[in-house]
Subunit: 439 residues, 2 copies
């Protein structure tokens, strides 16, 4: 049997502690599967005295992850510190500089420095594995980097934030407001005290940026992503969607178009009978559309200590199974030097169906006016639903339009024209429709 693979784990939060526990409890099974033992030789965290329910005796302790990366007796550095800069960044650089492989679960770090890290790793024949950084336990990185080699991707999309999917699922199932569901998510630990990063789509965007690079071979461009969160989705939208045969999900979508690559994160209508529409609660899902394979959808846990630790462990065992330096999987699917500059497609050129919900005053000619503005902008409609509330004589009327595939620019112009007519009450709601390739 080959020498043990020595690993150092920086960060002992939920994921790190799970990882230590699993590696210790399953050392025999792991050694059998990998042909060599996996030994934790060093760990680092802020507080040495905290009880994490794991036995750290015999493991070298570092207060500072950078010191661990620089000095510990390790073959692989496991970065579970978090954050796009600071200690996470410094420690990964230190590990690569020393010739040590890296495993990380840090999407923010990769979204910012991934291309540079890939270059550093490839210069030295090192591996960077990061399965846990996107959609937690779902092996989407492996599928894209290894299984689908040779495929040309057309679109990659998914539900990649459990907080948002939990909130949208509860809103629909229980008829509750966004605010009520957010509070419930916070109570259950599915949402942070400051939930902005999740509900406004930033977290999804970091993950999407990594998938975009793997799919299209362009440099990571996390700052060039169109972002729209779920905080203004109302129960009326959800109900109207259901009535028309759709369900609302926060999707991250990367798509090749004639004018460049679209990267967008926004609430999306998906057909009610599609597989992805059934993905409920904190569960994640990623769909890969490519020309040889067709469509592959993977559904699984997107977060949680154990699920994330499972993905990190898969990354570690991949390194254990290869002889150090022997395997040549390019970090970002192709060698970093061959990545192309990101060519951003403009959102106003986006083509697709749209759901438009308008609240209007109950007045003769309004319906005709709306239909005219749509027609003037070349938008053809799949369905129109008008509903009066009839509670009082001058109660507002809700009009819901679903368009056939059209240009975002046309929709924006039509909605803007409608706003100028003076019969709208409040802001119009516009939600994009996304259709899986196979229904």
């Amino acid at each position: 049997m080959a020498d043990a693979l020595k690993i150092g784990i920086a960060g002992l939060g939920t994921v790190g502690a799970s990882l230590v526990r699993i590696i210790q409890q399953r050392s025999n099974a792991l050694a059998v599967a990998c042909g060599r033992a996996i030994t934790i030789t060093a760990v680092s965290a802020r507080d040495r005295n905290k009880d994490r329910g794991v036995d750290l005796s015999g493991i070298t302790w570092f207060d500072d992850p950078v010191a661990l990366a620089e000095n510990a007796d390790i073959d692989v550095f496991i970065e579970l510190v978090g954050g796009a800069d600071g200690a996470a960044d410094k420690s990964v650089r230190a590990a690569l500089a020393r010739g040590v492989h890296v495993v990380t679960a840090n999407k923010a770090l990769l979204a910012r420095h991934g291309v540079e890290f890939a270059r550093l790793a490839e210069e030295k024949g090192l591996l960077i594995n990061y399965e846990a950084a996107v959609a937690g336990g779902i092996p989407v990185i492996k599928a894209m980097r290894e299984s689908l080699t040779g495929n040309n991707f057309s679109r990659v999309y998914g539900i990649m934030n459990g907080t948002c999917n939990y909130i949208l699922t509860r809103m629909e199932k229980e008829g509750l407001s966004f605010e009520a569901c957010l509070k419930e998510a916070q109570r259950l630990g599915y949402a942070e005290a400051d939930p902005t990063f999740d509900i406004e789509g930033n977290d999804t965007a970091h993950k999407l940026a990594i998938l975009t690079t793997l799919a299209f071979g362009s440099e990571i461009a996390a700052d060039d992503i169109y972002l729209e969160g779920i905080s203004n989705i109302s129960i009326e939208d959800i109900n109207a969607a259901a009535e028309l045969g759709y369900r609302i999900k926060l999707l991250g979508v990367a798509q090749r178009t004639e004018t460049g690559i679209e990267q967008r994160v926004h609430p999306t209508m998906v057909p009610l009978d599609s597989v992805i529409a059934q993905v409920d609660g904190v569960t994640n899902a990623v769909a890969l559309e490519s020309d040889i394979l067709g469509e592959l959808l993977m559904v699984g846990p997107g977060a949680g200590g154990n699920a994330t630790a499972s993905a990190v462990l898969g990354d570690i065992t991949d390194i254990a199974k290869s002889r150090p330096g022997a395997q040549q999987v390019p970090v970002l699917g192709r060698p970093a030097a061959l990545l192309e500059p990101y060519r951003q497609a403009k959102m106003k050129s986006h083509e697709g169906g749209y759901f438009i919900r308008l609240s209007v005053v109950d007045r003769a000619g309004v319906f005709a006016s709306i239909a005219t503005k749509m027609a003037e902008n070349g938008i053809s409609l799949e369905s129109i639903v008008q509903r009066s509330q009839h509670t009082t004589a001058d109660a507002p009327v809700t009009i819901v339009l679903v368009t056939h595939a059209t240009m975002e620019n046309a929709v924006r112009k039509a909605v803007s024209a409608i706003k100028h007519e003076g019969y709208l009450i409040g802001e119009p709601q516009v939600i994009r429709i996304e259709r899986p390739k196979t229904a």
Copy 2:
């Protein structure tokens, strides 16, 4: 750049021809992704003169796949011949004996000889990759062999036969009979002229046997699988299932129980709102339940020249990315020498819910008699639906029972007791219910 990886392809049917075309058209992209070129140096097929729409000039032709495996200048032997014995078997043995890696899409071959092949390969440090053998383009082998290392599996199940899923989907959507849908599947090329192997579950069983070994570390036991096909599923079953909130799918299920491992292929009721219930037509799906990760579901194309070729290509590029002999992924998840004997759980000990549809004569006391037989066997019922057709005075009555979790043995006894009462018309229909871990 490293030397080109030289491959020989035995079998130029739909998959083989797709593979040749893709490798030739994408040679540059593949070389970039793998760090070395992939070169087809040899092919073999029965008829040299057939037009396959691919350019075979410069490639050494062999009439006999065994001769190719024995003599061609190759690093990897790609077996696309088919069949559990004969040329497929002989050529794989010849390749391994020479020290050549093997890629195969042949589930029947692996179901019969997989353990022996794994032993031969591991003795020589060779790889056998076989992603395409189970669920076509879905990367389930990679997920189990590489991503989920360290996980203990509890259950693995899936829709692994497109023909059956196509037939069941059309029956439900269009209210057609099994026979009508089978004919349509044959017309469209989704079913063979002799469809027995697909519709009676043998094809699913071969795939399941491989997954069982990867999940539970036991030797492949393809002959010890409980088999029940879909040919006696009627439109009445499908309608009754829908009414009770279920859909019928042909599943292969491998499950660890207290008395051993269950391997079973049978029509199965899955909850209508589960993700797997939405998997329609020829699409396949595989669910992996394990203790660290939780539940992972993968949905994708289970057959077709391109999708299968994509999986084969992924297997080839994995070998291209590793230096020959350097990677140590055990063929069956753990070294063949460490596989355990298969310990079969008896079907009569299977625990689960059951759907039972009975056609009975319309006579006082029948309903009470059925309820009594169930109670006498300790079976508690989740729901009972009785429906008279009222077409004529003595028209049969349909009774549908759904049980809570119970033992198969109890169900068999109860049904047998009911049969002895003399009021049944025709055979009772019994269909097992399978529930995903997360709904």
